[in-house]
Symmetry: D2
Subunit: 261 residues, 4 copies
């Protein structure tokens, strides 16, 4: 707690950070994938899309896979990887390996979403288990038209669509960044209704700009390590309430893999 | 327009900046004050509270006042003043001048809001025209209890309460920062509903921390010079729509001085 | 609880009825008035506006007033009165009594709101204690312009403005019907977010049409004696939750008399 | 337009009636089905679920089908049928016909939603074209768990899932009644924000009670033939605006059949 402009008004930062919300979401997605895989083990897993969830999913898969390859069109995302068991490939390295016949995955996880992987690539890889992320959230005509996630589910004896939704709330995509923004925004709207709250401020930034235009992984990691919400209020004992409202909104996020025939 | 993670997704910044919204609000407040004063001229005007609106109001008053004094408890806010005709006083300078009988204002404008100026100070100054800002917005029990703006309206042959509201929308105070945050948040909620919009991100920061804890006026001015909203969407021609939605929400803000007997 | 179309879906009516919400609101208004009057006793009290609150306020005043007159332009509203100590007057009866000098109230309560009583009438009555209801809720430019409640506060050694608001929520007027509608609507929106709720239906009707166009007091009393909300859901144990959400929204309503100099 | 309690306040009913919104939704669903069928002709079509959409879909199918059978567990819903070409069967009649081998549909449309038809029945009918309505709207954990619409899509060379959503808005199911309620409620919330609007009242009733508990088809038809919204306002020229806001919300409803492999 700090004082605001005058000592009558207090400023309280949420204990929960942007980082905590991101971690909660990617963990839910990784757990949904693990649950769908039922403890099965794989020789070679390929995960497409490092950001924001792929790195975490790849890490979770290292326990059950001899080899985990993380593919991303952005070479600088290699830096995001901590687990040394994960092998990173950018597009050219991936295409070379594909041509050389070095890729023979029994598990493929496609997290590239809207405008991501082409169905042909997945078809060539021909995995026995295939999971594709459904980028769609609450219905939107244009996003619905552009999405081809079901078309990508064209191979495999076991196929699943990774869905992530916010229960009873509007989120236009299942993207981790969309879910973080909407969770923080809805929490701010809830907080604004509490007695004695002057305003609730979402500490959000265009993180994708830092990652993809500035290409500064370090700065991204710093920037998400910040309290999710700053509240200006009269009551200095509001900290628990702020966290509870954030937690209630985080709990709205559900992720599960839907089996597709 | 920039591309997002993939070329299918675009990123568009609003042309309207945080700065533009702040300017619009303080201009409305200054115009409401000028309208109430009906072109009257004054020898000495004292404005209490430099941030966020006071500096602008003081500037507007220089045309009709021989002397304009801007008083703030935070000495470093002196730097925010550009107009050389405005005389800045911090608390100790103000108290000294008050004791020495140098202050004899015919106009007092109190913009200090919650926890601000005491009614006794205004009583001592005994101006003929007195305007006090009502810090209250949408009803809140606790803010209602702590507010003493009407008690401060204790002198003057002409007394007015400066009200600022957002029509049909919830804002808990009339503070310029509250109104900026709520205007940007509500615009994001509106934008999220457009076809093909993935998310709408409010580019807000805890500006009061920069001004009052870091005491860095320069950084504050830099930070508010940023697009108010960043939109992730499929349609690259959304720029006008983004500005229109922001303008529609800015137009919800009304400021007027209510005459009090 | 009843079954919906199939036995899987349940239908639950709220225990709280429209009537209960109306009663809660008019009781809050009556209590605010009693609190302002501080136990003072009066010879003659005149209450203007029978619907929806006036009848209840008049009833509450009978304990502390020798005579309580309830005035309404709609003669058929006489039927709404139960307490025999209340004397009802329609416009012509009131005007006659006024001309004949039979009216000399020491307390006047004006609940007529927008388009109601003219300031001149109140001025003629010249009570020592005067309370006028402020019809305004959340700011609205047009309602703000048309409201003249402060102009009606033109007499009396003790003057008060009866304010009624919903904390942190939008209600465009303080009218009892507006507050009922908004409370039920916001409760439905909250209920819709619960797990397993298919829809939440507000059991509202245009009650003012029944009262003022059909002029059927009996039908009005029947129609408000109905569960406020009907919920279609999977979980048959939702009844308490429904009432709690309604109560939480009812508790948002605050009424108080603001002393005006 | 009628006057409210005083002549200053007007009461305006929307031109659009509850009936119009119902019709719009069932027409969208019927069109989605027709589009999926691509003009194909059928010998025998069976539609399960008469209320609220089934009767309309059956009617639309009579043009392309030699025989259209409408099945519903509620015998009294037979009265809802106007088109004489539709053959109505209640559960016992359907089961008898099924045992007698009289049913050999080449098209089955299952509109029974949550708790409706069992997958076994559809399996026995073994149609070449099968359409099942997805009852789910915005994600809800409990509704998601109870829904078995994809399991019912167990036969047919051409299989489709009938989806109906409100773009960027929360509706917990695709049920026609859910969509009507949410469309009217959201329109009321939009209307409340207009300048000079005191309140916007949804003229909704628990129509399912009239149909399934009272079993009064005639009363149902009367009750939905009512203006969707009643608005209390200062401006008598608001009629077009009211309809435009209703239309904008009706246009949010999209229905399409998703091809399932």
């Amino acid at each position: 707690m700090k004082y605001g402009i005058t000592e009558t008004v207090k400023t309280i930062n949420s204990k929960i950070k942007i980082n905590d919300i991101i971690y909660n979401i990617v963990e839910k997605k990784a757990n949904a994938i693990k649950y769908f895989l039922e403890g099965e083990e794989f020789n070679q897993a390929i995960v497409f899309g490092a950001y924001l969830c792929g790195n975490f999913v790849a890490d979770a898969l290292t326990k059950d896979c001899d080899e985990v390859i993380l593919v991303d069109v952005h070479p600088h995302l290699k830096e995001i990887i901590i687990n040394e068991k994960i092998k990173f490939m950018d597009s050219s390295k991936f295409n070379l390996s594909l041509r050389n016949g070095e890729l023979n995955p029994d598990l493929v996880v496609d997290l590239t979403g809207i405008g991501g992987l082409s169905p042909e690539i997945i078809s060539k890889l021909n995995p026995s288990v295939l999971i594709v992320e459904n980028p769609k959230g609450t219905f939107d005509k244009d996003i619905n038209n552009i999405d081809n996630s079901v078309d990508r589910l064209n191979k495999g004896v076991k196929r699943g669509l990774l869905n992530t939704f916010r229960t009873s709330k509007v989120s236009k995509t299942s993207g981790s960044m969309t879910l973080v923004i909407d969770t923080v925004m809805d929490s701010c709207n809830d907080l604004k209704e509490l007695d004695g709250v002057l305003y609730a401020l979402p500490n959000l930034k265009y993180y994708e700009g830092i990652l993809f235009h500035e290409k500064d992984i370090r700065k991204f990691i710093d920037e998400v390590n910040t309290p999710a919400i700053t509240v200006s209020c009269l009551d200095e004992d509001l900290e628990n309430e702020i966290n509870n409202i954030l937690l209630k909104n985080i709990d709205r996020i559900y992720s599960y893999v839907e089996k597709i025939k």
